[in-house]
């Protein structure tokens, strides 16, 4: 592909550039019109005022940002739930990925596919399943039979957390599985032959080598939880409030677009900062490991 441009004379190269530009055109237009331009408008809106009938009225003020502290619980809720949910997914998912990659034997393909299937089924329906299980006719009814009255499971933070782990677990397991499966088993043997125990081998060989999978798993889970709406709406019942719920409220119900824009800008910033911080810490860890290997 790249070979033709290099050898050709200048006119040929020019033509190939035009072709490249034409091929990139539709994608660029799409990105520009539906992603970049709207994000710029979003920033502009966040300094505006709410029009009397809802929507946006031109203005330049910081009121929307100054008003954000009234929604601070939504932000802290989201952040903690995202961090906690990602951590739980990791704790539950890592051993499973490890088992699948190293110990599952002949059933492996089937077992991997079984982790995959829920991911391809409807998110809404997976959450709905828990709605009936945790609802009054579900586990609380069973517990009542056992003598424990008035157990409320639905519309509590643990219910939301459960929904998060349930829905995002596959996204954590895939990348971990892939990186663990690629791991050269001879390294484990070598570690064993050199007298390292199970835990030492895990800490010094397996874990560092699965770092890429861990990295992408954490990001794949963390980022969508930050924008989660369905789980808190269905399993939190308005009592556990995420930024996503606040945004739906602001844009579709109260139609306070400028305030909603400010909230979404801050959501993007918080997500970016958290992800950058995580990547930075991760790369620092990598450096330290390389040093320790030497």
């Amino acid at each position: 592909m790249a070979t033709d441009g290099r050898a050709d004379a200048a006119p040929g190269r020019w033509r190939s550039r035009v072709v490249t530009a034409l091929l990139l055109g539709p994608t660029s237009a799409w990105y520009f019109l539906l992603l970049l331009a709207p994000l710029v408008i979003l920033v502009a809106f966040s300094f505006g005022a709410r029009a009397p009938e809802g929507g946006y009225a031109p203005a330049f003020q910081l009121d929307n940002y100054l008003e954000l502290p009234t929604r601070v619980t939504a932000f802290t809720n989201t952040l903690w739930m995202a961090v906690g949910g990602t951590f739980l997914c990791l704790v539950v998912g890592y051993p499973l990925a490890y088992y699948l990659a190293t110990r599952a034997g002949a059933k492996r393909t089937l077992l991997v596919v079984l982790v995959v299937v829920p991911f391809w089924t409807s998110f809404l329906i997976r959450t709905y399943a828990w709605l009936t299980i945790l609802g009054n006719n579900g586990i609380p009814a069973l517990l009542e039979g056992l003598g424990a009255d008035d157990v409320v499971l639905l519309n509590t933070p643990p219910a939301v957390m459960l929904g998060i782990v349930y829905n995002y677990l596959p996204l954590m397991v895939f990348p971990l599985y892939v990186s663990l499966e690629r791991l050269d088993k001879r390294l484990l043997e070598a570690s064993k032959d050199l007298g390292a125990g199970r835990l030492a081998t895990f800490r010094q060989v397996t874990l560092p080598l699965s770092a890429p999978g861990l990295l992408s798993g954490v990001l794949l889970v963390f980022i969508p939880i930050m924008g989660e709406y369905i789980i808190p709406a269905m399993l939190g019942g308005g009592k556990v409030f995420f930024i996503g719920n606040a945004l739906v409220d602001l844009f579709l119900q109260s139609r306070d677009w400028p305030f909603g824009s400010a909230a979404s800008i801050v959501l993007i910033l918080v997500t970016l900062i958290a992800v950058s911080l995580y990547l930075w810490l991760g790369s620092r860890g990598q450096v330290r490991r390389e040093v320790s290997i030497l």
Binding site: L23, L35, A37, I41, F174, V178, P212, F251
Partner: protein, 322 residues
């Protein structure tokens, strides 16, 4: 591969590794519990879809009445149709645009590639809800610009009532393509990066023109990535609730929007029936795709490829973000 087999089958190992057996047992128990956790809720949804009673909580005999009810439900079927249309268009557009862009980026100058990488990263890192909001803002602004112009043009040409552009299924597709196009691009670029260059070069050495090289050498190697991209795009689009609820037109809900609204109104086993049917279709599609991959991989001979073929469907984005 040490499965929890009887000690002694490991030839050349020191006798009975007690701790090892416990560790193995712990891993298997954990895995079994996770599978239960994953499948019991889905199983219950399917079970209660056959409920003869009116409540989702109590099973009162089995029947198909809720399936009949769901299939008769005009609104549910319209929503299903909307979702299928949106999903298909999203898959087609995202796959073709993403693939073309990925190929063009191969020969684009480095700065252009860097900019595209950055924007793709933005498209993926931004939560779906913000994409919904951003596209809503874009459409509202655009309609505010375009519709008066259309009115003016139609009025000056005396064409009668001017057409107005509104939100609808097309706006949902436009919004879904932003994100899914980025995913297809990442998948195809990863495949291109891992591709054997020598084949393309051999084709050129044998005087094949570029287009022919592309069709006969490059494209066949790209198919797995393209198909995976298309499937992911369709699934994402078919499943999406949040973006659609921002940019959908009035009175044209997608299936997730319809389901969400009916759950809000009160739960009936009809939702379970709809869910089970969607589940059945998904699983059937997955099995078919899996079998196709398997056959193709067999033709490509190596067992390694076989595994990878399965995984190509299974594993969505495993690229490390750069």
């Amino acid at each position: 591969m040490s499965q929890g087999t009887a000690p002694g089958t490991h030839s050349g190992r020191p006798p009975v590794d007690r701790a090892g057996r416990w560790v193995d047992r712990a891993f298997r128990t954990h895995a079994a519990l996770v599978y239960l956790f994953l499948y019991v809720p889905i199983g219950l949804v399917v079970l209660f879809s056959f409920n003869a009673g009116d409540l989702t909580g109590e099973l009162r005999g089995l029947s198909l009445r809720w399936y009949a009810r769901a299939l008769d439900d005009r609104f549910a079927m319209a929503a299903l149709q909307n979702s299928l249309v949106v999903g298909a268009w999203t898959a087609i557009l995202a796959t073709s645009l993403g693939t073309i862009a990925a190929l063009a980026l191969l020969r684009a100058p480095r700065p252009v590639r860097a900019v595209f990488d950055a924007i793709t990263y933005v498209a993926i890192i931004i939560p779906g809800i913000v994409i919904g909001i951003a596209t809503l803002i874009f459409f509202v602004n655009m309609f505010g610009w375009v519709n008066p112009w259309l009115e003016y043009l139609w009025a000056s040409a005396a064409l009668g009532t001017p057409p107005t552009i509104r939100t609808g299924l097309h706006t949902i597709v436009a919004a879904h393509v932003v994100f899914t196009m980025a995913i297809v691009m990442i998948l195809v670029r990863a495949r291109l990066a891992g591709m054997d260059r020598s084949l393309t070069e051999a084709s050129f050495d044998l005087f094949a023109p570029p287009l022919r090289t592309f069709v006969q050498v490059t494209l066949p190697q790209l198919w797995p990535a393209i198909i995976t991209g298309a499937l992911l795009a369709f699934t994402f689009s078919f499943d999406d609730f949040i973006i659609a609820s921002f940019v959908a037109g009035p009175g044209q809900p997608t299936l997730p929007m319809y389901v969400f609204a009916s759950i809000r109104r009160g739960i009936t086993p009809e939702i379970n029936a709809i869910a089970s049917m969607v589940l059945g279709v998904t699983v059937t599609a997955l099995v078919i795709v899996g079998l196709v991959y398997r056959r193709q991989a067999r033709q490509d001979r190596t067992a390694d490829d076989l595994e990878r073929g399965d995984l190509a469907v299974a594993v969505p984005v495993t690229e490390e973000p750069r």
